[in-house]
Structure formats: C-alpha cells, structure tokens
Subunit: 342 residues, 2 copies
C-alpha cells in the first residue's frame, strides 16, 4: 500500500531527470509521461531507459523560445515505442488518472497562471490525488491558494514549490528555525554549475535571466536562443543573481516562520563549468527563547548537482504528499507543511 504510481507532465530537464531518479527509489513507479505532442502510459510501469533513450536531445515543443535540438522522425515522447502521438497529452493523462497517485508538473511556467490552469483541469475532472510542482515564482502561490476549495472538492493535495529553492532549501530553513522563537532573516544562496551548458536546462536558465536587472518574465520569454547565448557570453558564462523572486519567501511567511520580506534568495549560475561557483547555503538567524541571537546553517556539498537537489526533494515531497492525500488531507501544501519523505 506504500507503492506510488506517478505521472510526469513535461520531459524537459526536470521531467527526464525525475524519471531517471525514480528508477533509483523504491516504491515509486512512473506510469505516464507526456510532452506537447506525445503521451506514454503503462500502468505496470514505463520502461524509463527506453523512453529516455528515445527522447534524448529530442524534446517536443512548439519551437521558438523552448525549442531544443531535435532529431529522428517523431519529436519528443512520441519517438518512444511506448508512446502515442497526441494533441491532447494532459487530457489523455487525466483520462487515466484514476490509477495515478501523483502527478509531477514539470512544465515551464512562463505564464504565471499556466500551472494553476493545469491544476484546474485536474480539479474539473475530479482527480483525487497529488499534484506536485517545482515552480519558483512567489506570485503563483497565491493563485494556487485561491483554488483551495476546488482542490478540496476534488480531493487534490497540491504540493507547491517542491524543487531545490523553493523546496529543499525552504524545508531546511523551516527546520533550522526550530531553535528560535523569532526568526529575523533567512538567507538562501545557491551555486549551480552545469557541465552541459544550458542545453538541457533551457527553461531554468530563461527563468533565471528574468531575474536579472533590465529583464522580467515577459522580456525573458521573448528572447531568442541567440539572445540568451549573448547574455551568457556577456557574463563569461557566470551570472550572479540577487533578490530573486523565489517563493521561499511567501512559503515561509505562510508557515508563520518569518515575514516574506525577511527572506532573500540569490546565487551564482555557471553554465560553462561542472564545478559550482559558490556553495549552496541556507542561513537562518533568530532569537532563542532564552534570549540569544544566533545563526543556524545548512550547506549542500559542492558535489551535489542542481539536478540531484531538485529531483530528490521533488520526489520526497511527492511521497509526503501522497501520504497526506491518503489520509484525506487536501488543499495547497508548501514544503514547510510537508517535509519530504526519503
């Protein structure tokens, strides 16, 4: 009864890694995956190796901003022998969702309300199960909270912000706060090195660029691949971000840990090196009940990749979400409400 059948929406970097990651976890069986033009469903479990091999460097999209190098006759998931081409991939998965315990939404959220609208479709279909996303933007959380009633009516446990930051590091901040009766500040600082440049992590780099001075989510969406390349070049492949709009802030406020304004998120992305340019660290400063001021620290080893720190927690939070869902707890849960299972 602890077994979990799950689906992945989207087979970009995060979706593919989640499938791969799941093969290393007990009791987690991927039974469905889709991209824009293909869907693969096997309730006995997908052959992940075949699916990943068939879609390697071959991600279906509508071209332009999210296009990735393509090869083969069929694009993306449809190239797998387990898949069918489709123009309604999400509906196809919803049609089979009675047998799916959890759905990881690994779609780029370039429009703020895109993931909330995907969730609406599951709620409209009375899906009873878990939805997990790895969104970053603070403003999306409120849109999800607005949907609590429809999630509760359907029986959906929506786990939001379940990647690295927000997600892993938000959970670490919540735990580190346990020494304190009052939290003054939470500082999240990340380092990401990508040996592969950003070919496999295009959506992530684009979202990050939207945080740079002079850019926002709309202008970043309009950038061509060449323009992104030029921005990366300008920074010699190493881009520093400060005061990012990451949902750690609203998620920590929502859990009563501190005010959103006391949370800062920043970091350095190096798209040309495997080595992390800086150590990912969470520092939580607060006041203890016995009157001391102190800072607790959580650090990720430089040898843990961004992928390991996104996909492990995403599946950990997914497992924790399924446990809550099976106990009949529905609505919207942040990482701090739902520390992950291993």
């Amino acid at each position: 009864m602890d077994d979990i059948n799950f689906a992945v929406l989207g087979t970009g970097g995060i979706g593919r890694r989640t499938l791969e990651y799941a093969t290393e976890k007990t009791a987690l069986t991927p039974v469905a995956a889709c991209d824009r033009h293909g869907v693969a469903i096997d309730h006995d479990g997908l052959d992940v190796d075949e699916l990943l091999a068939a879609t390697e460097g071959n991600i279906a999209s509508d071209g332009g901003a999210v296009a990735v190098k393509q090869s083969g006759e069929m694009r993306g998931v449809a190239a797998s022998t387990q898949a069918e081409p489709t123009e309604t991939p999400i509906d196809d998965i919803i049609a089979e969702s009675d047998a799916i315990d959890a759905v990881l939404i690994a779609l780029p959220n370039l429009e703020h309300d895109f993931i909330p609208r995907v969730a609406d479709r599951f709620a409209d279909a009375d899906y009873e199960g878990v939805l997990v996303d790895v969104l970053k933007r603070s403003r999306v959380i409120g849109m999800l909270d607005d949907r609590v009633d429809s999630f509760e009516d359907a029986g959906i446990t929506f786990v939001c912000g379940a990647g690295a930051t927000p997600g892993f590091l938000t959970g670490a901040a919540a735990l580190a706060a346990q020494s304190f009766v009052e939290v003054e500040s939470v500082d999240i600082w990340w380092g990401v090195g990508l040996k592969s440049g950003y070919e496999d992590n295009r959506g992530t780099v684009r979202e990050d660029i939207a945080h740079l001075d002079g850019y926002d989510i709309e202008t970043a969406r309009e950038l061509s691949d060449e323009e992104i390349e030029a921005i990366v070049d300008e920074h010699d492949g190493r881009i520093e971000f400060n005061d990012m709009e990451h949902a750690d802030d609203v998620l920590l406020e929502r859990a009563g840990i501190c005010d959103a304004e006391d949370v800062t998120v920043g970091g350095i992305l190096d798209v040309r090196s495997d080595e992390k340019p800086t150590t990912t660290t969470v520092e939580v400063t607060g006041r203890t009940f016995d009157g001391e001021r102190a800072t607790n620290t959580f650090q990720l080893d430089d040898d843990t990749s961004m992928e390991a720190n996104v996909n492990g927690p995403a599946l950990g939070y997914l497992k924790a979400g399924v446990r809550r869902n099976r106990a009949g707890e529905y609505g919207v849960f942040g990482p701090t409400d739902l520390m992950p299972g291993f």
Copy 2:
C-alpha cells in the same frame, strides 16, 4: 481550530522549559502539568509564570537518584497556587484528557519501558490525541512500535524521539539526505555547555553518563549525586561521548534512509561552562543519482542552547503530530515521518 491545548508530564528541566517556551509560541496553550506529587489543571491555560516561580529549584521526586534541591512547605508542582497535591498525577490528567490535544512526556526514562507503560495508560483510557516524548534510547522505539495497534484503537498519534537528538538532528539528517539516492553515513556530533552545572538537567547528565565506558543504564541509575559529581570532577567538567545509543539510528533506519549501523552519535558535554565545547553538526554522506559522493552539513550556532534545541523541536513536532492526529493518522511517528511545524 489551530489552537492546541497541551499537558506536560514532569516538571524537571525539560518540562519546565517547555512550559516557558510555550508562552512564546502562538496557538499553544499549556493546560496541565504534573510531577510525582502534584497536578495543576486549568483548561483556560495555566499561569506559567506562577507555576515556574512556585516550583523553581523545587522539583518533586521520590528522592535519591532524581532528587533536586527542595525548598518551601510543599514540594514541586503542589507548591503552586494552581495545583492540588495528588498521589495519582497521571491518572488525574488522563481524567481530563478529553480536552487535551497533546501530552508531552518529560519524565526520566531510567527504566526502558517506563514511557511505553505511561503510554499504555493513556491507550487504556481511550485517549484520542498526541503523545510526545523526548526519549533517547534506541531500544525504546521497538517497544513503542509493539503498541501500534493499541494506539490506533485509541486514536493516539505517538511522536517519539522529538527532542534535539533524536529529534531536531534526526530531522536535519533526513532532510540533508534528500540530495542522495543512497546514504552511506550519518554523523551526529553535539556540543552542550551548561552554565548551571547539571542542577537543572540532572536526568540528562545521568542518562549521558550511562553512555560512558564502564557504565550502563542500570549502573548510572544507582549512582548517588556525589558519585555523579565525582565523575564530572574526574573529567574536569568536560565529558566526551562516542557511539552513544541514541535512537537517531533506528529512527533513520525505520524511515528507510540508511541502516542503523551507519549512524553515529557522539558529543561533548561541559557542565561548567556556558560556552559549547564543540559545534553541534550533522553530516550526511551519500551518493547522488548522478554518481557523485558528497556530504551535506547542518550546523547549529554555538549560541543556541541545548534547551532551545530540545524544546523548540519538541513543540514543533507536537504541532505536527496534532495536525496528523486531527487528520486521523494514528500510531507511532518518528521525527522523519513528521517534520516539525514552527
């Protein structure tokens, strides 16, 4: 509906600090407290300041091994204007437990099965609510697991090992493990400095001494205060412990994170200095899904006292336990099953 009424069994160091701590937390109302000879119950909320003032340095016990300096006419809780003397303090609290959401068991566990037997009394009375303990010994967890059926029948959510270690640091280890698909080792190393000597933390020091070479739980129990003092003197007040039997090991194994034998707990206690003799650190070493070996680290600031790091998490886990209990989840939960609320 988020308000929590709770009771504390025992008003030694941990019990007293929990009451004090709760005054700084929202939505947590202490409504009952007892020691061996007195019980105070007020469903509108105890006057914690009065209770602590009345029992300061004045803890009721049966003398001998757990005796603490006593003063005043009445000993312990009974000295409070809110309290009644009683010879059946736990039964008195059980009699009122319909209106009590959670009970923190802050009793010394010198007999291994003492806390399990206290839990039995609540289960026999069909208590529906949360029991929390801050026990340390690995072997007690199995005794609690043996009682799952009776806890489920009654409606008890038993949260075990919810102090610092096990508890806070076990949770940190579980979270730090999220980068990995396989955990090789968990090393927990703590530093505790006690400005007050061990007067207020006698039970803790005695339990710790049982971990020293040449001692076990039985011989430690038989030590007189003078003998403990002599042991402390021999070590110039600074005692190092290695390979302690702390339940972090079985709790992490139980959660599927690693084998119990891969967990080590040790630390240094300085009963003569306020300063911590070493920094409390959790190191989790594992293998990532992409084949790296790495170590994630969680560190508590030296300025966070043992008390802050026991009582904050104990109440955090208590809150998380109440949430599970209200959702109808009963049985035995370790820290990793139930990361704390703030």
